[in-house]
C-alpha cells in the first residue's frame, strides 16, 4: 500500500483512508520520533489494521510505535461487537504482558550502600530467564483456578492482601475466562511457569522517585521524591504464547473462507460474535488472569526478599501496590463513537489503558486523579508514572503509550555493544544489573530504545495522559 502521511499538529499525523482502508490511520508522535517511524514498515501496518472489518474510529498508533508482526507494536484499534473482528495478533503472543509498580517507605539513601546485595538477593529468589520454572508446580485443577480467578487466586493462597486487588486493572480478574477451550499444550506450558519473570525485555527494577511533576496526583498515588519504588514487567509466559499460537493457526487456516482480503496472514482474525471469536476471548481471558496472578506472586516474593535482605519487617518496608496495568490485551469497553455510546472490542498491542478522572471503572482511591499509567523506559534511563487524561477517551479509546519502543533490532544492538561492557557502563551510572542470558544486556542496552522522555512528552501534550512522576533505576534483574 502507498502510504500518504499528513501532519495535523505538533503531535498528530494522519494516514488518509485509501484503497481497502475502512478508516483513517492516526499516529501520535513528534517531529523527532516520526523520523524513525517513517523508516520501517509500521505505518503500513497501521494502514493494514484499518482494512479489518468493523473497525471504528481510527486505526491508532501511540508514539512508541514500532514494527511488529501484523499489528504494529503501539497499535490500538476498536471493533464493533456486531460486525467487527477479534485478532490474536492484535493482542500479541504475551497476552497481558504488563507492569506493576510498588511503593515503599524506604529512602534511596538508606539502600544505596547495599544495592548490590539487594539485587543479588532478588536475582536468587525470583526465577528469571528463558523457560524458567519456579517453586510453584500447579495441578491441572489449580491451573484452571488461576485461569479463572487471576490475582484473586494468588491472594487467596497468601500472596499479598485483598486490598491489592482494587489497585489492579479489572481488579486482576478478567471475566469470561473459560479453561475448557484451552489446548493440552497451553495447560502443560502453564503448569510450572507461574511466579517467573521470563526473559528478553522482562525485568524487575528497584528505583528512586527522581522528580514529581504533579504534586496532587503524586500524593494520591503515594509517591514522594527520594522514595524507593519497585517496578515489575512480566506477562503470561509460555501459557499465553501457546494460546495465541493455537488460535492464530486455527484462524489463519480458515481465512481463505473470509469475505474480505487479509493484507497479512499474521492479522488472521475471527468475527467477534462467531464461536471462534468467543472461544479466543475466553482463552485470552485465561492468559490475562494467569499474568495477573503471576505479577501478584512476583510482588509477594519481592517483599519477602527485601524483608530478609534488609532485616526489616513488612511494616518498616511498607511495600504497597500502586497499580498494575496490562499492555497486550483485547477488551470489551464502553466508548463514545460519533456521538453514540457503544460497546466495542479495544485491541491494545503495546499500549496502556489510561482512564481519566471520574471514570466509573476507577477505584475510589484514584477516582479524582485518574488511572495510574506505568511507562517503563530502558534499563539505563527513567521510567514514568502518568495519570489518564480526558483526551484519551475522546481520541484513543482510553489508551496511551506503553514504553520506549525499540529503535535498534537485537542484532544491531549486539553489534553496537561489541567490545563494550554494558554491565560496567550501567554500574558507572549507579545502576546495578544482573541478568541470566549472556546476550540480554547487549540486546536490551539503552541505545536500543527510543528516548522514553520524548514518548511520554507526546502523550502528555496530546492530552492522553499527564506526567506525574519520574523514576530513576538503581538496580535491575533481567532474564
Amino acid at each position: 500500500m502507498d502510504i500518504r502521511l499528513e501532519q495535523l499538529d505538533e503531535c498528530r499525523w494522519r494516514i488518509p483512508k485509501s484503497g481497502p482502508m475502512r478508516v483513517d490511520g492516526l499516529i501520535f508522535s513528534s517531529n523527532e520520533l516520526i523520523k524513525a517511524v517513517k523508516t520501517d514498515e509500521s505505518l503500513n501496518q497501521v494502514a493494514n489494521v484499518a482494512t479489518l472489518p468493523g473497525i471504528v474510529g481510527h486505526s491508532l498508533a501511540m508514539p512508541d510505535i514500532h514494527w511488529g508482526y501484523g499489528f504494529p507494536i503501539g497499535g490500538v484499534a476498536a471493533f464493533d461487537m456486531e460486525d467487527g473482528i477479534v485478532s490474536p495478533g492484535g493482542v500479541g503472543y504475551d497476552i497481558n504482558c504488563g507492569c506493576r509498580l510498588m511503593t515503599t517507605l524506604l529512602h534511596a539513601a538508606e539502600i544505596r550502600p547495599v544495592m548490590k546485595d539487594l539485587i543479588s538477593a532478588l536475582f536468587s529468589s525470583i526465577p528469571t530467564g528463558v523457560g524458567s520454572t519456579g517453586p510453584l508446580h500447579l495441578s491441572k485443577k489449580e491451573e484452571t483456578e488461576v485461569a479463572v480467578q487471576g490475582a484473586a487466586w494468588a491472594v487467596n493462597k497468601g500472596f499479598g492482601t485483598p486490598e491489592d486487588l482494587e489497585r489492579i486493572e479489572d481488579t486482576g480478574t478478567m471475566e469470561g475466562a473459560d479453561p475448557s477451550v484451552l489446548s493440552e499444550r497451553a495447560i502443560k506450558r502453564g503448569r510450572d511457569q507461574l511466579g517467573t519473570l521470563g526473559s528478553g525485555n522482562h525485568f524487575l527494577e528497584i528505583q528512586v522517585v527522581d522528580k514529581i511533576y504533579d504534586m496532587e496526583k503524586a500524593r494520591a498515588f503515594g509517591l514522594s521524591e527520594g522514595q524507593v519504588t519497585i517496578l515489575i514487567h512480566s506477562g503470561s509466559r509460555g501459557f499465553g504464547h501457546q494460546i495465541c499460537d493455537d488460535f492464530l493457526k486455527e484462524m489463519a487456516s480458515q481465512m481463505h473462507k473470509a469475505p474480505f482480503d487479509l493484507p497479512d496472514r499474521q492479522l488472521a482474525c475471527a468475527m467477534l460474535k462467531s464461536d471462534q471469536g468467543r472461544r479466543y476471548l475466553a482463552a485470552m481471558a485465561c492468559a490475562a488472569n494467569y499474568a495477573w496472578a503471576n505479577r501478584q506472586i512476583l510482588m509477594h516474593w519481592t517483599q519477602e526478599t527485601l524483608n530478609r535482605a534488609l532485616s526489616i519487617g513488612p511494616k518498616e518496608l511498607g511495600m504497597k501496590l500502586l497499580y498494575d496495568v496490562c499492555h497486550n490485551i483485547a477488551k470489551k469497553e464502553r466508548h463514545r463513537v460519533e456521538g453514540n455510546e457503544v460497546v466495542v472490542c479495544v485491541h491494545r498491542k503495546g499500549a496502556t489503558r489510561a482512564l481519566p478522572p471520574g471514570h466509573p471503572l476507577l477505584p475510589e482511591i484514584y477516582r479524582q486523579v485518574g488511572q495510574p499509567v506505568l511507562i517503563p523506559g530502558d534499563m539505563g534511563t527513567y521510567s514514568y508514572v502518568l495519570a489518564g487524561s480526558e483526551g484519551s477517551m475522546e481520541q484513543s479509546f482510553g489508551s496511551t503509550c506503553h514504553g520506549a519502543g525499540r529503535v535498534l533490532s537485537r542484532a544491531k544492538a549486539t553489534k553496537m555493544a561489541k567490545g563494550r561492557s554494558i554491565h560496567r557502563e550501567l554500574e558507572d551510572k549507579g545502576i546495578f544489573v544482573q541478568s541470566r542470558g549472556k546476550r540480554t544486556l547487549k540486546e536490551e542496552m539503552p541505545e536500543a530504545y527510543k528516548d522514553v522522555s520524548q514518548v511520554v512528552e507526546v502523550v502528555h501534550r496530546a492530552n492522553l495522559a499527564c506526567k506525574v512522576a519520574r523514576l530513576r533505576p538503581l538496580g535491575v534483574i533481567k532474564g
Partner: protein
Amino acid sequence: MNSHIPDFTLLDHTADLGILVRGSDLTNLFEAAAIALIRIMVGGEPSGNTESINISVEGQDLNDLMVRWLGEILYLFEGEERLITDVTIGFISASRLDALVATVPFDPARHEILCEIKAVTYHEIEVVKRGSRWEAKIIFDL
C-alpha cells in the same frame, strides 16, 4: 539426515528476529529451517539419551506448512523440554510433511540458552523457489 550446519542467515527486524534459510530441495529446506531454529535458541553440544519422535504436519500451503512445522519444533523445546539433534523428512508436499526427529532432553547445565523464541509468526512468511534452489524467510517473535 541434517546434522550438518544449515544454510541460513539472520535478518534484521526491529522488534523480532528473522532468518533466511536455503535448501537444495524442499526436504532439505524444511530440515535446515528446523536445525537453524534450534541453533539460534540453544548453544553447546546437544547430548543425552536420544529419543526419536514422529511428527506429521498439515498446512494450507508451503508458507502455512513452514510456520506449523517450526511451531512443532519450538513446542518440543518449550513444552516437552526436548532439543532436536537430527531431522529426517520422509515425505513432503505443499500441504503435508512427515518427519522423524531425534531429540535429547534439554539440560540447563549442558545447553546454553542463546535466545528465547516465543513463536513462529506468519508475518512476511515466504517459501519460494529461486532458480534451482529453495528459500524461506521466517520471522520469529522474541
